[in-house]
Amino acid sequence: QEKTITIATEGAYAPWNFTGPSGELQGFEIDLAKVLCERMKVKCEIVAQNWDGIIPSLNAKKYDAIMAGMSVTPARKEVIAFSDPYAAGLNAFAVLSDGPLADMPGTGETYSLDSQEAEANAKIEEIAALLKGKIVGVQGSTTASSFMESNFKDGVDLREYKTTEEHNLDLTSGRLDAVLANATVLAEALGKPDMADAKISGPIFSGGVFGFIAVGLRKDDTELKAQFDEAIKAATADGTIKDLSMKWFKVDVSPRG
C-alpha cells in the first residue's frame, strides 16, 4: 500500500522552506514533511509552487497538501481545510537600532494573545501610543497584516509588501519605522550583515490572530486530513517537532494548547 501524495511548498521562505543552490528543498517544513509521511506510511513528493497560485492549484488537484508556513485563517478556511497545527505563529516588531522605537516595552518577553490576553492587550496599548504617526510595513495578506489592521487601525500608516525581504529593505532605507513579521523569519534576516542596524523591539506575540500553522488540504479530502492529524499529534507529543524547531529556529514553535 505504497500511496503517494504530493506536498507543495513555496521554497522561498527561509528558514521554514527554501531552496538550496542546486534546487533541493530544505527547511523546517521539509524535514517535518518527511517525518509526517513516514508516520503516515505514504510516499511523499515535495514540489515548489509560487505563493500566488498555491491555493488554486491545490483545489485544481495539482497536489494534495500545502506545507508553506501557511497560517490558519478564517478566509482560508472558506476555501480549503487545515490539519491540526504543527507550529505556532510567533510575531514581533523589528526597528532600527538607533531609532526612536529601539526600546519598546516588553522586549525579550513573549505574550500569548489567548492565555495572557490582559497582559498582551496592555502591551499592545503601550506600543500603539508609540507607533502613532509612524509607518509600519507588513507582508500583505498575512496574519501580521490582519493583526496590524485590527489593533493599530488608526494613527499608523500601514504599508503592505509582497515579501518580507522587501519590507526589511525599506526598514533599513528609512522609509519604514517598523516592520511586523514572523519572529523566526525576522531572526534569520537580522542575522545577515545588511540588517546589522536593525533589531527586534517589543514583545513576541503568539496565539490569537497569529494562531497556528497547519497543513492545507482540500475540503473533501477528509481521509488525508485524519492521517495528517494523527501524525502531527504524535510528532508533537514525542517532541519531534520541538527538536526540528530548535534545529531550524533556535526557539520552540511547537503548538501548545
Binding site: E10, G11, A12, Y13, A14, F18, T19, G20, P21, S22, G23, V47, A48, Q49, N50, D52, G53, P56, S57, A60, K61, K62, Y63, T163, E165, E166, L169, E188, A189, K192, D194
Partner: protein, 237 residues
Amino acid sequence: MDYLQLMGFGPNGWGYGMLAATGMTVAVALCGYLIGSVLGSLGAAAAFSRFMPLRAIAGFYTTVLRGIPDLLVIYLFYFGSSSVISAVGALFGAEGFVGAPAFLTGAMAIGVVSGAYQMQVFRGAVLALPKGEIEAARAYGMPSFLLFRRIILPQAARFAIPGMGNVWQLVLKESALISVIGLVEIMRQSQIGAGSTRQPFSFYLTAGALYLLITFVSGRGFRLAERRAMRGVRRAA
C-alpha cells in the same frame, strides 16, 4: 558569501539553476512568440477581410486580449483548461489532476496574448504599404493569400520589424508570469533565490543581466532581419 561565489557554478553557487531558468524563459517565450505570430497575422488578415464577421472577430480578439491583464489569461488557460480536461477525464473514470502540461498552457497563453499585439503591429505595417504596388499585384491576378505572402508580408516586414522587436521584448517579460502555473523561469528562480538566501539584489541584478543577454542575442537577429527587409528601399539623405 560574495557575489561570484553565489552566482557561480560551485557547490554553493546558483549558476546552474539560473542557467536552467534562462533556458525555460527562452523556450516559453519563443514558443509563445511563434504562436502569436501565426495568430497575429491571421488576425491582421481578418481585419482587412471583405467579410464583416471576420473583421468583427479580429477586432474583438485584439481589443479583449490586449485589454485584460495577462495574468487573468494565464489563470483562465491553466485552471480553465484543467477543469475542462478533469471534467472530461472524470467521465472516463480518471481521477485527480489531469491538466494540460504547464509548458504548453503557458506557451499558449502567451501566444494568444502576444498575437493580439502582433496583429496591431502587422495592421499598422500593412497600412503603410504603397497602395500602387498592391494594386499591381492584384492586376496580375494574385489571389488574396498569394498577395499576402508574396507582396504584403515582405514589404510589411519593413515597417513591422521594429514593432515586432517590441513585442518580442514584451513576450520575454511576460514569460515571468507563467511562474504562477509552476514553471521555473528567470524571475521565479530569482525570487526563490532571494527568499532562500535573503540577498535580493544579487538575484534581481543577475536576472536583469540575463534578460539583457537574451535581448542582445535576439537584438542581433532583429537587426539582421531589418537589414534584409530594407533591401531596395531608398532613404532620403
